[in-house]
């Protein structure tokens, strides 16, 4: 094997090798490059429209280090503002969430309304005759667009969200169709840090290979509660969706409150879930209805949005804080009309696997953090091995779940294309 440790990726199909440099997770200069080429340029997920249903509803959020104000205006439209006063720059809204008609800046008293307009300036005449409140409203982010209620922004000028989402659009369509009453983000947010590079979170979701070694205790939980454990994972499809986005779809042993009963749940609850399945099939047809009810989908939209439609449905965002630390924010999105007994089962399903208190997510975090510590060996042993499945693909064979890293390879190929370099020596 020819090894050049100056390379970001060593892609040598003839040797059945695809290796990513550990330094890509540990080099602060490369992290700066990722910020300027990825987080300053691509579409980033901010929030879901159902988080702020009424005019004046707002949340504040930090995306790519910038403080943002996500607010629904008087006309019912949602807008993402840079949360910084047009006077001296202070954060205008200092609350995480709420409903307001006006956003007064605490520092010098400038007042903005929920449509971003500047309404009051103490001592306005002293700014002179050329000053105009109309020119000093809150600044919007350079680009904003929604798809199926998912609101994205870019710090670059762009108007191509549907093209950028590419094949991922279908999966946002499917998710949004999974309840006749619509899907909404429910209150309560998981906010937690992970001592690992931001890329580890999407790669953890893309990589089905880790499931059995990492999550064997979750399968034990299912077994003990009485779920049917016949075939662990079946009907498995992995798809590269373009622009660095990926999905894998599969049926798993666990039930889904979205439409697949579980032997451990009460007859009453399972009857409601069967009714939900029947509704999906009637509304969407037998193929799509069955697919939504029965199958799980792990979706990664490059770079910062992850949607796992699995035991429950979670939306997760990774905010890169530094090269070796990310802040993760996670929400639950659920049918808007779940009766309490179904919501209770849905929450049990969600919380026993997902989140920082689940029986699985903390093990993923342990794996990511242990990897980050291990990557400090990049000078002596540079390579992370994502070669699984290359030999079979070259031979024209099909791969089974857990037998290929081809989606991880697609993720890193897109990442390298966005960075526009192939060698660390190209960094300034």
């Amino acid at each position: 094997m020819k090894s050049d440790r100056n390379q970001l990726i060593l892609d040598q199909p003839d040797d059945h090798q695809y290796l990513v440099n550990k330094r890509a997770f540990a080099d602060a200069d490369l992290f700066e490059r990722e910020f300027s080429r990825i987080y300053d340029k691509l579409w980033l997920y901010v929030g879901h429209e159902t988080e702020i249903p009424e005019p004046g509803d707002f949340v504040t959020r930090t995306i790519a280090h910038r403080p943002l104000l996500f607010v629904r205006g008087s006309d019912g439209e949602v807008t993402v503002y840079l949360n910084s006063c047009t006077h001296n720059g202070s954060v205008v809204c200092r609350e995480p969430t709420g409903n307001r008609e006006f956003f007064p800046c605490a520092y010098h008293g400038w007042v903005f309304d929920r449509d971003g307009a500047l309404k009051e300036v103490p001592g306005e005449t002293a700014f002179g005759p050329q000053f105009s409140k109309a020119d000093n409203g809150l600044s919007v982010v350079p680009s904003q667009a929604s798809y199926q209620g998912f609101v994205f922004i870019s710090f670059a000028e762009r108007d191509d969200l549907p093209d950028y989402l590419a094949g991922a659009k279908e999966y946002l369509d499917i998710l949004s169709a999974s309840s006749a009453a619509g899907m909404k983000v429910i209150p309560g947010t998981h906010e937690y840090g992970t001592r690992a590079n931001w890329k580890m979170l999407p790669v953890n979701v893309i990589d089905g290979n880790h499931f059995l070694p990492t999550h064997v205790t979750y399968l034990q939980y299912l077994q003990e509660r009485g779920s049917e454990m016949g075939h662990p994972i079946r009907d498995f499809h992995e798809t590269v969706l373009g622009n660095g986005h990926t999905v894998f779809e599969y049926e798993a042993p666990w039930g889904r409150p979205q439409g697949k009963p579980d032997a451990s749940w009460s007859e009453e609850v399972n009857a409601q879930i069967e009714a939900r399945r029947a509704e999906l099939i009637e509304r969407l047809g037998p193929d799509l209805g069955d697919r939504l009810a029965r199958k799980n989908r792990n979706l990664v939209i490059f770079p910062n949005l992850i949607i796992n439609d699995i035991m429950g449905v979670t939306i997760r965002v990774a905010e890169p804080v530094s090269v070796d630390f990310m802040e993760v924010t996670a929400w639950q999105i659920a049918p808007a009309d779940d009766p309490p007994e179904l919501a209770q089962v849905r929450n049990e399903q969600f919380l026993t696997f997902l989140g920082p208190g689940g029986f699985a997510t903390p093990d993923d975090i342990e794996g990511m953090e242990a990897s980050q510590r291990g990557f400090a060996t990049y000078r002596e042993m540079p390579w992370v091995n994502y070669s699984k499945g290359i030999a079979a693909e070259i031979a024209g064979g099909l791969t089974s779940p857990g037998e290929s890293d081809f989606m991880t390879r697609a993720f890193f190929n897109a990442w390298q294309d966005y960075l526009g370099i192939t060698h660390f020596s190209e960094l300034p």
Binding site: G188, T189, R195, P340, A343, E348, L351, P356, G357, D363
Partner: protein, 170 residues
């Protein structure tokens, strides 16, 4: 430890010293990883709940908690700590809990409402982190023994941040 506080008011049959001992015992069992004894502190009707850091008083059915265990889930949680593939707590964190400001708010139909403050210092993989918060427990007596009916932990933190997970009991 010898001087006793003045006798409790007639309308408060539970002595705070008894509750303090119960909570200190619980903290000791957790810090020393005596999980089989710890789980015996729970009534089978009990829940262990940790609301999300941004929603302390939201309802557990209509909102997202960090932890909302019934007794069956809680028993598995306790057992998972000693499963070799429960990676998040293998090896176990070192913890030291400080439980203080214990208040008994009253007793109704045999259910005792208790609040307390806590600080949990945790060391893991060479890094120290901290959890700070407030307990809002409901206790009952079963055959003279104090038990948890609801063990609710409110994390007074802006998110879990560097603490990362609630893979230990908080």
């Amino acid at each position: 430890m010898n001087s006793q506080p003045s006798s409790p008011p007639a309308d408060q049959p539970v002595q705070s010293s008894e509750v303090e001992t119960f909570l200190a015992t619980e903290a000791w069992l957790l810090d020393t990883w005596q999980l089989d004894r710890w789980i015996e502190l729970f009534d089978p009707r009990a829940r262990y709940q940790v609301p999300s850091t941004d929603g302390h008083h939201l309802d557990s059915v209509t909102s997202l908690y960090l932890v909302d265990d019934d007794y069956r889930q809680l028993c598995f949680r306790a057992k998972r700590f000693n499963l070799p593939q429960g990676h998040a707590e293998q090896p176990h964190s070192m913890t030291q809990r400080l439980v203080t400001n214990v208040l008994v708010h009253g007793e109704q139909d045999g259910v005792i409402d208790v609040t307390a403050g806590f600080s949990i210092h945790r060391s893991r993989h060479g890094t120290a982190t901290q959890y700070v918060g407030r307990y809002e427990h409901q206790l009952i007596r079963v055959d003279g023994e104090m038990k948890f009916l609801n063990r609710k932990s409110l994390l007074v933190m802006p998110g879990l941040g560097a603490a990362g997970t609630v893979s230990i009991i908080v």
